[in-house]
């Protein structure tokens, strides 16, 4: 087994892509994810891979579409405005069922926004982001190790379901260094892709398209996609559940916010307050069942995010109807401190009201 090494999150992610067999990267520079293209521009050519710095994120994602359509593993990475520019092609890929990996190391918004850590793109990532009735598979790492592991996983899921997968990270996860083992947990599987566009040599010509004009054709296609999303919801949910037994309050947080919550949980325990945590690792599919079951036992739920309340909506939809739901969030690069989270934990515990999302952001 490989030794653990001190490595940046973005680099761990880029290395995972190579180890997952991705040989095609297309991207356009934007902070805070530049380490990814920089690493891949150095290492992909050594693997006979292709690195193109495209003229825009629109071109990048469309190049990804072309390479992935031939059956190759292909990816791009970007942040905020760049991810917005990719949405049309991601919708096409969801529609024509072309797998790929899109990495969003989030930056603030709306607009150009700052580059500090934030989770403001939760809606964009989990609601498809582009036009039409579709979803991306969304994975939210919370450590450098997970930047590696979930990137490998994302390629597998994308291929398995012929769907775009997204890693939703932030500047802390991208930029910080942590010890991590850069080695696959399981051997890398590459499956046959009989649907790929490779030239009609020993078979009839085939195509990848999204336009359906005959009566009922589009509806049938959408229903087919819906069934696929249902299977994903059924089979691929990942979440971390911690200290749920006997907890007085359930906290739900993902990514960087979940790390801060864990520190606050320890502080709470020292004061004799028992906190449980559910950390969604897949944001789509969302761990609705885990949250429902936990919130049946634990009457109060606090959602902590680095935004003004986006995953909150999914928790509200998932949680047991008897649960009181509270929210604490800091948007726009504001990173909650464990002390702030502890205050919110206590406030939620002492509150008597039922469902409320008290948007006490900056104190």
């Amino acid at each position: 087994m490989k030794e653990s090494q001190l490595v940046k999150g973005n680099v761990a992610l880029a290395e995972a892509a190579i180890q997952a067999g991705c040989r095609y990267y297309f991207g356009y520079p934007i902070t805070p994810q530049n380490d990814i293209p920089e690493y891949l521009s150095e290492h992909l050519p050594k693997q006979s891979g292709v690195f193109i710095q495209a003229e825009s994120e629109i071109a990048s994602i469309n190049m990804v579409m072309g390479a992935a359509a031939t059956g190759a593993r292909a990816m791009t990475s970007s942040s905020g405005p760049g991810i917005s520019l990719m949405q049309e092609a991601m919708s096409y890929m969801a529609g024509s069922e072309i797998p790929c990996l899109v990495v969003n190391v989030m930056r603030c918004g709306p607009g150009l926004g700052g580059i500090s850590p934030t989770q403001g793109d939760y809606f964009q990532a989990t609601r498809g982001g582009g036009h039409g009735d579709y979803y991306n598979i969304v994975l939210a790492p919370a450590s450098v190790q997970e930047m590696f592991d979930l990137t490998m996983k994302a390629f597998d899921l994308a291929d398995k379901y012929r769907n775009p997968a997204m890693i939703l990270a932030d500047a802390i996860l991208g930029q910080m260094k942590e010890p991590a083992i850069l080695e696959p947990r399981e051997p890398v599987r590459t499956s046959a892709k009989p649907w790929a566009i490779t030239g009609a040599a020993d078979r009839k010509p085939q195509y990848l398209k999204t336009l359906y004009l005959s009566d009922g054709e589009q509806e049938a296609h959408n229903l087919e996609l819906m069934r696929k999303y249902d299977v994903i919801r059924d089979k691929e949910v990942l979440c971390e559940a911690k200290n749920l037994e006997g907890a007085e309050l359930l906290v739900v947080a993902f990514g960087t916010a979940s790390r801060i919550v864990k520190t606050a949980m320890n502080m709470a325990r020292e004061e004799g307050i028992r906190i449980g945590l559910i950390r969604p690792i897949t944001l789509f599919p969302f761990p609705s069942k885990a949250i429902l079951e936990a919130s049946e036992q634990i009457p109060k739920v606090l959602v902590v995010e680095m935004n003004t309340g986006q995953m909150l909506i999914d928790v509200q939809v998932s949680a047991h109807k008897s649960a009181g739901i509270f929210f604490y969030g800091r948007p726009g690069g504001g990173v909650p401190t464990p002390e702030e989270v502890l205050v919110e934990i206590k406030r939620s515990l002492h509150a008597t009201a039922g469902i409320q999302a008290s948007k006490n952001s900056v104190g």
Partner: protein, 251 residues
């Protein structure tokens, strides 16, 4: 023994086209299919369809096809070709697709010298969406969004893509042809074949701009449409070869 002297190219399907009767998209399709047949590369050709009247490319060409978002075919083709450099990759794009929304992609794909072939059909309008102004619409030409005729003061000038792209180092071949009469079609056939030859010989990016009538949206008969191509379009969009690389003379 009677000898067959004319037949449908293998690469062309026998599906009746959805194009308006008299539209030259069909002729352009045939010339592309003939070129693919000529080089015997049908089994390894991948077409990239644009959004426009030619979106149904997979119905007419017996090759693998991927449909690109509006204007992005050159980027999609770049991805395909980089992943499968031994395949023959072509895009087939309209003037709204290539010269308006997809300007960035065509310029940079050409500039990178991607070894692909682009067939660019210039019919001066957005055919599929009902005849709106295109970047190639002639000055004074009435369209559904230039009801008073295109005015350079508000809409600028018709853009000459074949000439513009010929200035880029990455381009191996750039030509403009027309389909308004038999002689023009024969010339177009040569140019399209040449463009594919460039790709087969790995010379870099090749493009053929094909002047085409859209008589439906021009509100004229097919014959009047061909006349307009000859008398109005060609004087502004001159036919010819604007660049032809003879060796792999990369800088």
């Amino acid at each position: 023994m009677p000898q067959q002297v004319f037949k449908r190219p293998r690469t062309l399907s026998d599906k009746p086209t959805h194009f308006c009767p008299g539209c030259t998209h069909g002729t352009a399709h045939r010339l592309v299919a003939e070129a693919i047949d000529h080089f015997g590369v049908q089994e390894k050709t991948i077409g990239v369809a644009c959004v426009g009247c030619a979106v149904f490319m997979y119905d007419y060409f017996n090759v693998d096809v991927i449909e690109a978002p509006h204007g992005r075919a050159p980027a999609v083709a770049t991805g395909v070709k980089r992943a499968r450099p031994d395949r023959i990759v072509f895009t087939y794009q309209g003037d709204g697709d290539l010269a308006a929304i997809g300007t960035s992609e065509i310029i940079h794909t050409a500039n990178r010298g991607e070894n692909i072939t682009v067939v660019f059909v210039n019919n001066t309008v957005y055919g599929m969406t009902g005849g709106q102004m295109a970047p190639t619409t002639m000055l004074g030409q009435q369209t559904t969004t230039t009801p008073y005729g295109r005015d350079f003061r508000t809409d600028g000038y018709p853009i000459r893509m074949a000439e513009m792209l010929a200035t880029l180092e990455g381009v191996a071949y750039s030509a403009r042809v027309s389909l308004h009469n038999a002689k023009a079609v024969l010339n177009a056939k040569k140019a399209i074949r040449k463009a594919f030859e460039m790709q087969v010989n790995e010379m870099g990016f090749s493009l053929v701009e094909v002047l085409s009538a859209c008589h439906t949206n021009w509100r004229v008969s097919p014959l009047e449409g061909q006349k307009k191509v000859e008398e109005e379009m060609i004087p502004y969009f001159p036919l010819g070869v604007f660049k032809e690389r003879t060796g792999k003379d990369f800088l």
